[in-house]
Structures are given as structure tokens and as C-alpha cells.
């Protein structure tokens, strides 16, 4: 038998990956640079702000050697905007992930990093949880990041209790959206379900459900699909106009 774990990442694995997100801290003590496999951390000189991995930030926070600056999207106003966007502006789609950061190119122009879309940027190259992250957009690890920050550094988050209840609302709204998104399967599994903007923990939470529904719909439509294929093949034998995969010239 295969590994008795479900497919995909379990929540603790998701949270482990989230701890690699960079976060901005205000150190209270000096700390020399540490050589890590993922690169050296910046040497900390209070009160200079630095970006370090979340796990290190939480460690320093627990030792009272640093304060964490929560990312702009974790503020009350930004969360309210997000909930408004999710419920009123776009009640069916997901709010988009944060846009790539804007950098000046030395000639006085500002343009989006990676605007030609040659490579897909992801953290830590994309500052999604540092203080320079854009407000009003949820990064991939939003849920677990917010949970961990609220659990360990709630005194650093402004109006933490409001943030907490807004996060609950947001989570419920998006979970309901995930449930209604399967209604598109009524006509059969024919397209793609866009999951752009869905967080890692949400994916891990609803993976079993969504794949279960898709599997069920596929089974129920299997015989209709088989007969459709046969029909198509018969038609394809009569006139060979339809371009096949070989004609695409890959």
C-alpha cells in the first residue's frame, strides 16, 4: 500500500513552508550575520529594520530580542477592503495575489518587476509578508502567516482582536466560495477551475473535498464521455479535417 498520508501537503507541512517567508523586524539587540543554507541573514543593528525568515523572527520575538512589523495587508483597513472585495465587488472569483513589486530602473522610470513574465516569481524573491508588501492583496501563505503572527506576536499587530475576527470572516467567506465554485461542475468536468489567489492552507483544507467531487462527477460522466469519444472517432474517420496533436507542429 502507498503511504497512508493523503495526497498534498498536510497543514503542518504548509506551516513549515510558510516559515520561510521573509518578514520585517525591528531588532532590539545586535546580532551578527548567521550563515544559513538559504543564505546569510543580515546582521542586525538596532533600530535598523531588516527582513529575515519568519522562523528566525518568531524565535527572536520569543526571546524578546526583536519586534515584528506586520505586513500592510494584515491591517484592519486592508482586511476590510479585502472582505468588501470578496463579498461585494467580486462575489464569485478570488481576490488576486499581490502584484510584483515596482522597482526604479535608474533612468527615472518605475516598472513592475518581471513585467515580461519570463519567470514566475515567488517568495522569498517576492516580498509578500514584509512591510514593503502591497496592502489589499492576500499572499499565498496568508492564513497560516496571520495565525502564527497572531499567536506569537499579537502585541506587535495593531488592534489584534479586530484583525482576528476579520480573518475569521475572510476565511468563512472564502470557504463558502470554494463550496459554490464546484457548482460549475454541473455540466461535467470540461474546463479548468482557476485557483489563482487561493491560499496554501485553504488548498490543503479543501483538497479532499474538491478532488472528491471532481472524481464523482468524472465517474458519473464516464460512460457518456466514452460514447461521445466513439461518436467523435466515427466522425473523424469520415472526414479527417480536425487537426490532431501531430499537426500542431511542436
Amino acid at each position: 500500500m502507498a503511504l497512508p498520508l493523503p495526497p498534498g501537503l498536510v497543514p503542518s507541512e504548509v506551516a513549515f513552508l510558510c516559515e520561510m517567508e521573509h518578514v520585517t523586524i525591528v531588532p532590539r539587540q545586535r546580532l551578527e550575520s548567521i550563515e544559513l543554507l538559504s543564505g546569510a541573514t543580515p546582521s542586525l543593528r538596532p533600530p535598523r529594520r531588516e527582513d529575515i525568515p519568519l522562523w528566525l523572527a518568531l524565535l527572536l520575538k520569543k526571546q524578546r530580542r526583536a519586534n515584528i512589523l506586520p505586513p500592510p495587508w494584515l491591517h484592519v483597513d486592508s482586511l476590510r477592503d479585502l472582505i468588501h472585495h470578496e463579498t461585494v465587488t467580486d462575489p464569485t472569483g478570488w481576490s488576486l495575489p499581490p502584484p510584483p513589486p515596482v522597482r526604479a530602473d535608474g533612468r527615472g522610470n518605475a516598472r513592475r518587476l518581471n513585467s515580461d513574465a519570463t519567470t514566475v516569481l515567488s517568495p522569498p524573491f517576492l516580498p509578500s509578508c514584509t512591510s514593503s508588501a502591497p496592502a489589499g492583496a492576500l499572499p499565498y501563505h496568508w492564513f497560516e502567516f496571520a495565525e502564527m503572527l497572531l499567536a506569537h506576536a499579537s502585541d506587535d499587530v495593531p488592534s489584534a482582536s479586530d484583525v482576528r475576527s476579520l480573518l475569521r470572516d475572510l476565511q468563512e467567506v472564502r470557504a463558502a466560495k470554494m463550496r459554490t465554485s464546484i457548482a460549475g461542475l454541473e455540466s461535467g468536468v470540461d474546463g479548468v477551475m482557476s485557483l489563482l489567489g487561493v491560499g496554501a492552507m485553504e488548498l490543503s483544507e479543501s483538497r479532499g473535498f474538491v478532488t472528491g467531487v471532481v472524481e464523482g462527477v468524472r465517474k458519473l460522466g464516464a460512460s457518456a464521455e466514452a460514447s461521445r469519444r466513439e461518436e467523435e472517432e466515427e466522425r473523424g474517420g469520415a472526414d479527417d479535417d480536425e487537426p490532431s496533436d501531430d499537426d500542431m507542429g511542436i
Partner: protein
């Protein structure tokens, strides 16, 4: 479908109504008669046997029996499902309703039935997901229990999967708060 899938095996054992076309001696005990089966006898046979006999044909003669739609997929049930998928207690119709449905769709060319079953499954799956999420806080009250009792086997396993995901995420959230 896996060889070891218990649900598939149990689905195979579901009985479907058939009508014999041939005279079969020495099998009268199936119908509590002493003479053997006459043509036109209506019998309920398990799906695996009925399917085999219905598809078997010996050269020139026709198949030994004719398969009919099981009562759980009858016109009335399908009409009720078309009207409101949520109000039907599928479990009372048949514990393996979708499984039997898939097998019937393989045998009969019933596109309409397939569409109805799929719509039913998707609509009810949404409800199952809602209940799986709210099962722990009990905020839905008694009406949820009624619905969950009417779930068919496919839906039960879907409920289990959905609940598993929600539960493990919730457990992680609790653990973070404590540590």
C-alpha cells in the same frame, strides 16, 4: 475502480429486476417453483450476475434475460431529484445509488439520467461540504442530522474527506495558539 474497493463489491451485490427470455430448467428454486424458470419470469438478480446474463448471447439466439431499471432509478425518483436534489433521502432509495447508476449508464444509453445524476451529485456535494465544515460547531442544528442520515455511500465518503481536511486545519490552528 480498485479491485479491493469494498463499495464496488457491495454495488455488485445490489439486486436489479430482470425478466427471463429463455426456459431455464433446474433453476426453479430462484423463483420458489418446482418446474424450472419459464420465459417471462420476473426475478431480482444481483448486478454482477444479471449484467453477465444480459450481455451474454449464444450466437443466433438472444440474451437469456432482459435487464430493467432498478426501482431506485425509476421515473418517480428521477423526477423528484430533478425537482429538488436536496429533499430526497438517497439512502432510502439505495445505499449505493450512484454506483448502481453508473453501472446502468454503462448498460443503457440514458443521457438524461446521467445528466440528472450528475446535477444531483454536484448540488448535494455543496451541501455535504457545508455540513462537513459546520459539523463541529453544531451551528446548523437538527436539520443537518436529517440530511446527513440520508446520504448515500459516495456522499458519505465525500463528507469524510471534506471533514478530514477541515478538521486537520482546525487542529493545526489550535496547536499554534497553544505552543
Amino acid at each position: 475502480m480498485s479491485y479491493y474497493d469494498v463499495d464496488a463489491i457491495l454495488t455488485d451485490g445490489e439486486k436489479v429486476p430482470c425478466t427471463f427470455e429463455l426456459d431455464v430448467p433446474y433453476l426453479g428454486h430462484l423463483d420458489n417453483s418446482t418446474t424450472g424458470l419459464k420465459p417471462g419470469t420476473a426475478l431480482s438478480l444481483p448486478l454482477w450476475l444479471a449484467e453477465m446474463l444480459a450481455l451474454a448471447s449464444t450466437g443466433d439466439s438472444k440474451a437469456p434475460l432482459i435487464l430493467n431499471m432498478p426501482p431506485c432509478l425509476s421515473e418517480q425518483v428521477i423526477a423528484a431529484l430533478r425537482a429538488d436534489p436536496r429533499s430526497v433521502t438517497l439512502r432510502e432509495q439505495n445505499v449505493h445509488l450512484y454506483g448502481v447508476g453508473v453501472r446502468m449508464l454503462d448498460l443503457f444509453d440514458e443521457r438524461e439520467l446521467g445528466n440528472t445524476l450528475r446535477k444531483t451529485f454536484v448540488v448535494r456535494a455543496g451541501e455535504v461540504g457545508l455540513h462537513a465544515r459546520k459539523a463541529d460547531d453544531g451551528s446548523l442544528g437538527g436539520q443537518g442530522e436529517e440530511f446527513l442520515r440520508g446520504l448515500e455511500e459516495w456522499e458519505r465518503s465525500l463528507f469524510r474527506r471534506a471533514h478530514e481536511g477541515v478538521k486537520s486545519a482546525k487542529e493545526w490552528t489550535e496547536k499554534v495558539k497553544k505552543s
